[in-house]
Point group: C3
Chain length 403, copies 3
C-alpha cells in the first residue's frame, strides 16, 4: 500500500513539472516561450538522470539501496529484485523503485523553481548545467540532512513535505542566480519598475491548477506510509488541509490586491494560491482546517507584499518564484510549531537558515563559475529580439502577429 | 479503502475546476479571458472556504461531524483525530477529512457551472458574492435533501452522483442569473442571433478532456464505498459506463450537426460529450453499456437541439452550460428508472422539480438583491472594451494583435 | 486490487487522448487547429463505441465475456453483474468492466497516432471512417494475436505494453495513410523540404507532458495484476524505468540537435521524450535503470535521425508520429531480449513484421477504398485556405491576427 501511495503521489508530483512549464510559459513574453518550454522539459529530464546517477544515493546513504557500484559513481545499477510474494505481504512495504520515483519528483521540483526566476535572459546550456549540479548534488546533500536522517532530523527540525528542503531551497538557488545574472534589460529604469506582462494568462492559470492538483501528491505522499487505516486517514487530513491553504492563499491575494490597488490582480491570485500551498507544506498534517486557512492566507499576503519589495531591490524574478517558494517557504517552516508538538521556533529557524545559507552560497559559487567559464547571459541583441529566434530559431507562436 | 477512493476521486474532481476554467476561457472572447480565469480560480477558492465554514455541516447534520462550535458558525474546527490503528482496520472506513474533501469538490463544481453562462458581462465581485451564497447555503441545503438523508432520499428519489443535485442545480442558478443579467450587447439584434465565437478552441477542447477525466472521479467516487471486491467492481462498471455515455454524446453531436448544418460543429461536439457525461451521472452503475450509449447519445442530441432554443428565448448562455447541465441533467435524472429498480418517473420528476424550483427561486432573489445593492452588470463601455482592461487592467494575451 | 490498478491505469491512459489532441493541435498550423481537435475528440469517442461493439470480443474471444449476442454483432450487452462479496475477496480479481475500460484506452491510443501524421490535408469523415475500421477490426485482430493469447503469444513474442501492438501498429496505419494521401501542398519543392512550423509550441509541450504522465498508466497498468506485494513492486520498477527512458530520450535529442544543428530543437526534444517512452514500452519491467536509460536514449536518437529521412522519402508526417511510434516502436520491440529472459531477436522481429505487414496492408487497402469511394483529400483551395474555415466554418483562434 505504501508503494501504491508512492506511485500515485509520484505521478501527481510528476505532473507538477507540466504545471511549472505552463505557468512559466504563460508568464514570459511570447518571444521567449519556446526557450522556457525547452528549459522545463530539459530540466525535468536531467533531474531524472542525475538523481539516479548520483542524487538518490547521496541523499539516502544506506548501502542497501545500491547493488553495485560502477567505479567512482554512485549509480543505482539495478533496483532490487522482487523478492516478496503475497504471503509475505506487508502493508507498510514500499519498494525502492517506488521510493526512488517519488523522491526524484521532489528533486525535479526544486529545479523547476529556478527556471522561472531566471527566465528571458539566461542562456540555455549554463542553466542546464546548473540543473545538473543542483539535482545531482546540492539538493540531495541538503535534503539528506533531514530526510536522509542527518543532523537536522536529529536536531528536531520538522519539514513534512519540504517547505524548506524543496521550495525555499529552490528559491535560494533562484535568488543566487538572479543576483549574478542581473535584471532583464529595461526592467528597472530611473527607479521605476517597468512591468513586462505575461503573454498567456490562460496557460499560467492552467499551470497553477496543475500545481494545485500535483500538490496533493506532494504533501499526501509525504506521509510515506499507507499501511494502516490511520495512515490513510492522515493522508485525508493532509488533502483537506492542502486544499484549504491554497484556497485561503488565493482569497487573501484576491482581497488584498482589490484593497491595495483597487482591482484584482490575477497573477497575484495565482501566486497567492501557490504560496498557500508552499506555506502548508512544512506541516500539512497537524493543523486543523482553520489552521490551514490562516497559515495559507498569511502565505498569500506575503506574496502580495514581497513581490514589490523584490522589485525595489532590483532583483528581477520573472514569475515571482522567490516570494512564493522562498518567503512563503520560510513562513510555512516557521509556522510548524503552532500545531506540531515537539517542534520549536528556534530549531525551525536554525534548520531554515542552515539550508538557506548552504544552498545560496553553493549556488552563488556555481553561478559565478559558470559566468566565468561560458557566460550565463545572452547578448543584449538576443534579449531584445527574443531568445526563441536568436538561440533556438523556433518561435512558440509563429503565426500570431505581435500587437 | 473507501478513504482512498474518496481521495483519488476527490483529486480527479478537483481537476474538473481546471477543466471548467479552460473550457470557459476558450469559449469567451479574448478581451474577457483574464476575468473568466479570475472568476474560476476565485470561485474554487471561495467554495473551499465556505463549504468548510458552513456548507458541510448544513448538508450532513450528524453532530459527529463537528467537534466544537465557534459561536454562531458551523465551522469544522478540527477533523477527527486519527483513532484507528491497523488492528481496527475496516475496509469500509472513510475518514471525515476524505469525505469532506470529496464532497467539497461537488460543491465547487456547482459553482463552476454558473460562471460560464454569465461570462463577458457580469461584474467580478457580485459574482463572487453569489458564489459565497451558493456554496455556503444553496447547494448544501438542496443536496442535504438527498445526500444528507433528507426528504428526497426518504421519498425514493435517486441521483447517484448528481445529475440534478449538482449539474441541474448549477444550471438553475445560472439560468436565474442569465435572466436577471440579460444578454450580452449586440447578441440578439432584430430577431437575429449574432454568434460570438470563442477565442481559443484548443483550450476549450483541453477543458472538455479534463472534465471527461475528472468525471471518472465524480461518478466513480460516488460509489462511496470501496471496501469489498463488489464495490470496486461497481466502480469499474461506472467507469466504463461513464466513458461510453461521453463517447455517445460526442458522436451524436458530431453526426447531428453534420446532418443539420452540413458541417460538424466542434463546440457542439465538446458540449455533446459533456452532456453525455451529465446524462449518465444520475445512474452510472446500473445501465448496461448499451444503456449508457443511448442515454448519453440522447444527452448529446438535447444539447444540439436546445442551444438554438435558448437563443430564441434570448437567454444568453455563453458556453452552453444550461443545455449541458440543466437540460441533460433533467434527462439523466429522468432516465434512471429505465435501469434502476425501485425508482419511478414520478419521484424523479418531483425531486428534480423540487430542487429546480428551490435553487431557481432563491438564486433569482439573490441575483435581484445583488443587482439592487451593487449592480451586477458592467457598463456598456466596459463590456465593449472588454472586462480585462476595464475591470482588471490585465489582458490575457497582451501581445497577440486582434484580427 | 487489480481492478483498482486497471481503473487508475485506465484513467491515466484516457488522459493520453488529451495529450495527443494538444500535441497535434500545437504542431499544426493555426488554420487547421479546429479540424485537428475535432478529429481527436471524434476518434476517441468512436473508439469508445467500436471497441465495445466489436473490438473487445474480437480481441478476447473467451465466451465468458459476452452475456448475449444481438444478432450478428458481438456487442457486450451487459458487463457481468457484481457477484463477489467481501468474503470472496480475491486480490487478483479484475472485473470485466475494468478490463474493458483499460483495454479500450489502448485501442484509442492506436487511433490517436494516425491522426497526427495525416493532419492538415485529410477530410474529416474519411478519417473517422478509417478510425471505425481501425478500432473495431484492425487493432483488435492484431492485438488478439498476442494479448488475446493468439499465435504470437504462443510463439514467444514479447511486447509488454505495446511498442509493436499499439505504437508501431498505429505508425503503420499512419504510414499507409500518408502514402495514399500524399504530402501537403508545397512541402517538398524541387528537392527542398519546406518546414511548416507548429502554431503553438506551448500546447505541444503540454501534450507531451500529458502523454508522459499517461504513460505511467500505459506501462504500469500493463502489469495486469496488483494482487501481491510483488506485483505492486513490479509496477514501481515500471514507473521508474518509464520515467528514465523518457528522460533519456529527451536528453539524447537535446544533445544531438545541439551537436548536429548548432541549436536545440524543442519539437525534437518533445518527440525524443515520446520516443524514449515508446522504446521502453515493450519491456518496461526487466531492464535496470541503466538499461532504461540507454534504450530510451537510442529511441531519442532514432527520432532525430529518421525525421529528415522521412522527409527525403517525401513522406509527410506532420507531427513525426512515424519516427516516434513506428521506428522507436521497432527499436523497443527489438531491445526486449537484452533484458528479458526467454525472448530472442528472431521472434521479436517475426512478431513485429507480422503485425506490421498486416496493419500496413489492410490499412493501405482501406485507405485506397476510401479514396475511391469518397475521396480522402481536401481540395487544393481548402488546403490553402485552411480546413477550419472551409470544412468546419470555425476557426480555433478567430481573434488572433495572422502574422
Amino acid at each position: 500500500m505504501t508503494t501504491l501511495l508512492f506511485l500515485i503521489g509520484g505521478f501527481l508530483v510528476m505532473w507538477m513539472a507540466a504545471g511549472f512549464a505552463m505557468l512559466e510559459a504563460g508568464l514570459v513574453r511570447s518571444k521567449n516561450v519556446t526557450t522556457q518550454l525547452t528549459k522545463n522539459i530539459g530540466l525535468f529530464s536531467i533531474a531524472g538522470i542525475m538523481y539516479w546517477l548520483v542524487g538518490f544515493n547521496l541523499m539516502y546513504p544506506g548501502e542497501w539501496l545500491v547493488e553495485d557500484y560502477l567505479g567512482p559513481f554512485f549509480i543505482i545499477t539495478a533496483l532490487e529484485p522482487v523478492g516478496l510474494g503475497a504471503g509475505d505481504a506487508s502493508l507498510d512495504y514500499a519498494s525502492v523503485a517506488s521510493d526512488f520515483f517519488f523522491q526524484l519528483m521532489f528533486c525535479a521540483t526544486t529545479a523547476s523553481i529556478v527556471s522561472g526566476t531566471l527566465a528571458e535572459r539566461i542562456k540555455l546550456w549554463p542553466f542546464l548545467i546548473f540543473v545538473v549540479v543542483l539535482t545531482g548534488f546540492i539538493y540531495p546533500i541538503e535534503a539528506s540532512w533531514q530526510w536522509g536522517g542527518g543532523w537536522l532530523a536529529e536536531m528536531g527540525f520538522s519539514d513534512f513535505a519540504g517547505s524548506t528542503l524543496v521550495h525555499a531551497a529552490g528559491g535560494f538557488a533562484a535568488l543566487a542566480g538572479a543576483i549574478v545574472l542581473g535584471p532583464r534589460l529595461g526592467r528597472f529604469v530611473d527607479g521605476r519598475v517597468v512591468p513586462y506582462p505575461g503573454s498567456n494568462l490562460a496557460l499560467a492559470t492552467l499551470g497553477t491548477f496543475i500545481l494545485w492538483l500535483g500538490w496533493f501528491g506532494f504533501n499526501g505522499g509525504s506521509q510515506l506510509a499507507a499501511g494502516t487505516v490511520g495512515d490513510i486517514t492522515d493522508v485525508g487530513r493532509i488533502f483537506a488541509n492542502t486544499n484549504m491553504a491554497a484556497s485561503a492563499g488565493a482569497v487573501a491575494a484576491l482581497i488584498l490586491t482589490q484593497v491595495m490597488y483597487g482591482k484584482v490582480d490575477l497573477t497575484m491570485v495565482l501566486n497567492g494560491a501557490l504560496a498557500g500551498l508552499v506555506s502548508i507544506t512544512a506541516g500539512p498534517l497537524d493543523p486543523s482546517l482553520f489552521g490551514a486557512l490562516w497559515i495559507g492566507a498569511v502565505g498569500g499576503v506575503i506574496v502580495v507584499l514581497t513581490v514589490p519589495m523584490l522589485d525595489k531591490m532590483k532583483i528581477d524574478d520573472v514569475v515571482g518564484a522567490i516570494p512564493v517558494h522562498l518567503f512563503a517557504g520560510f513562513w510555512g517552516t516557521l509556522a510548524v510549531p503552532f500545531y506540531t508538538e515537539g517542534t520549536n521556533f528556534v530549531t525551525q529557524i536554525v534548520g531554515f537558515a542552515a539550508i538557506g545559507i548552504f544552498v545560496f552560497v553553493v549556488s552563488l559559487v556555481v553561478w559565478i563559475i559558470l559566468r566565468g567559464l561560458m557566460g550565463i547571459r545572452v547578448s543584449e541583441e538576443t534579449e531584445i529580439a527574443g531568445l526563441d529566434t536568436m538561440e533556438l530559431g523556433m518561435e512558440a507562436y509563429p503565426e500570431f502577429a505581435k500587437g
